[in-house]
């Protein structure tokens, strides 16, 4: 049965009714968990942003305003559903579903709990069936994530195009260009993780990271073993894939009204909103899985092992959910050309170069001509080398930018402009002149 050759232990030999029930239960549980987490995430985001802006935020509906999202959702449900006259009706109605479905499907990859201590594989047994605490351990695991994140852009693109009006169209043109640009950086930084882990399955990626790290204190997370750089690239490219600030050119309220969803109202608008927050939760979960060991963590007894896994996973997830909110509250939106420059001229070359360095060290290790015999010490050397390269690259880049700016100014017959702000807080300097 080739279709069922999945990584799950309970599907390895034949399928009976119990297996089907178990799978359906897992899907339903994951769906409910994701919906509830979206509800809480919307509340969390509004609350945190309020606090960062010295406001109180939602505090009327329910305790601490927790039910505000529910109230807003109900309101959206009962609003009039408008379809613009000049729209392409079929595509206009299809687009919200194209956003929601990939957003949900990505979540099936994430192991949300499980006992990974002492080399265990994180599976639990109920009624003689051994299974992982994730919906499916797809054999090509993390590629599925890439596929879904590249499919997710269709919802945004088609929504903008089918609206039959100009601002949504501008939003969707930006969305497609942005998705293509950052998909490459995302995939290349992911490749570093896969190179170190040696597997595509999310469950096995977590297992590899559950091992003891350097000197038994520092965890064996991919964050450290891949040398921080892929994580930074992944975080930036992931934020761009999510279309969240500072990369929310797709919506850009000040220039494009609402961007791709300008013409949407009622339940269809709610679905875009749902997809956006589902994606945020899932992206945080994927970052935790890939770089921070997912549910792996020390087991302090009292609770059963798999529940400790959930506790660790949840704590790590919370850090990234907060980070995304923090980005939104503090970073100004990039200009469109800056966005493209960052993606193509910095992130992609950096990710590619870093992948080469890691691959080189792997080959050196397996060929017996590594710097040292120990992978852990070599990892440390990777970090130092990476830092040195980073510093040199930053210096080269800034010097190149300075030279090219002077060159251009020279060609236009302009003189060098003094920095706009002095470091000691002095008054802004004068503008450029002939």
């Amino acid at each position: 049965m080739s279709l069922l050759a999945l990584g799950e232990p309970y599907l390895s030999d034949g399928v009976d009714l119990g297996d089907v029930v178990l799978t359906v239960v897992k899907v339903v549980v994951a769906f409910v968990v994701l919906l509830v987490s979206v509800m809480l995430m919307v509340w969390f985001e509004r609350k945190v942003i309020s606090r960062l802006q010295n406001r109180i935020g939602p505090n009327v509906a329910g305790p601490f305003g927790l039910l505000q999202t529910l109230a807003d959702g109900m309101k959206l449900f009962f609003k009039e559903d408008l379809i613009p006259e000049r729209s392409d009706r079929f595509v206009f109605q299809l687009a919200p579903y194209l956003s929601v479905v990939p957003a949900f499907l990505t979540f099936i990859l994430v192991p949300i709990a499980g006992d990974f201590s002492d080399g265990k594989d994180g599976s639990v047994s109920i009624a003689g069936r051994q299974f992982f605490l994730q919906v499916a351990d797809v054999p090509v695991g993390i590629l599925f994530f890439l596929a879904m994140s590249s499919i997710g852009v269709y919802g945004v693109m088609l929504a903008g195009w089918s609206s039959g009006s100009k601002y949504p169209l501008l939003g969707s043109v930006r969305a497609s260009a942005q998705a293509i640009s950052y998909e490459a950086a995302l995939g290349l930084s992911l490749a570093s993780v896969l190179l170190i882990s040696g597997t595509l399955s999310t469950n096995e990626i977590v297992q590899v990271q559950a091992g003891e790290g350097f000197r038994g204190i520092i965890p064996n997370w991919n964050l450290i073993t891949t040398g921080f750089v892929p994580f930074g690239i992944f975080l930036i490219a992931g934020t761009a894939e999510l279309n969240r600030p500072p990369f929310d050119m797709v919506e850009a309220e000040q220039e494009l009204v609402g961007g791709f969803h300008t013409e949407y109202s009622s339940i269809r608008f709610a679905m875009f909103y749902l997809a956006e927050f589902m994606n945020t939760v899932t992206m945080s979960a994927i970052i935790v899985t890939l770089f921070f060991g997912g549910p792996a963590g020390p087991n302090f007894g009292v609770l059963p092992g798999w529940l400790w896994g959930f506790v660790w996973f949840f704590l790590k997830l919370l850090v990234f959910l907060f980070t995304f909110v923090w980005f939104r509250a503090t970073l100004p939106r990039l200009r469109y050309d800056q966005l493209m420059d960052l993606g193509w001229k910095l992130l992609i070359p950096l990710a590619l170069g870093w992948l080469m360095i890691l691959a080189g060290i792997r080959v050196a290790q397996s060929g017996g001509f590594g710097i040292t015999d120990s992978t852990q010490v070599d990892t440390g050397i990777v970090l130092v080398v990476g830092l040195a390269i980073g510093v040199v690259a930053a210096l080269l880049l800034s010097s190149a930018v300075r030279t090219s700016r002077q060159d251009r100014l020279h060609r236009h017959g302009l003189v060098e402009v003094a920095p706009v702000f002095e470091l000691d807080g002095g008054a802004p300097a004068g503008e450029g002149h002939h």
Partner: protein, 191 residues
Amino acid sequence: MVDVIVFAVAGLIVLAGGLGVVLNSNPVRSALSLVASFFGVAVLFVLQEAHFLALVQIVVYAGAIVVLFLFVIMLLGVDEVEDLSIEPLSGQRIGGLLAGAALLVFLLGGLFLSGGDEGAVAVTGTESVTQPIDETQPNIDNLATDLFGRNVLAFEATALLLTIATVGAVVLVRNAGAEDLSVDEPGRADH
């Protein structure tokens, strides 16, 4: 049994998508039909246990290439219904029909006439050619060994070809005498 049902459903999606590409007069809908057909093909790949190929199919074709198609369609705004009464190339439709019919005859002939002799290459419907090369290795390893081992020269030739194409495109669109249009220019506002 499950395999047959999945094959039938995925096959129908592929065919419907293919017909949609040709029959839709709206280019965006044609592109969407193409995506549907790619998904059908990806399911067929999964059915043959080529999981890696299935997802690469989706990432590369559905996720990047068709997105670029749509990008161009949106940017150029060619979303009006084309006038199909005028044939762009004379004799194209007749030629297309004839070529399609010939292909159908050859394929059906191959299906029904083969397999007469013992040992001849025949279409039997068994999975003999789609078995994993080495059962103990995941097929991503096999693919890598094949691509970067045996066929590395072809792989690098392709890479070179793509580089040439990219450089060519850049050279063609680049207008050497044009004004530098950088917006990131200090002191330009009062120039």
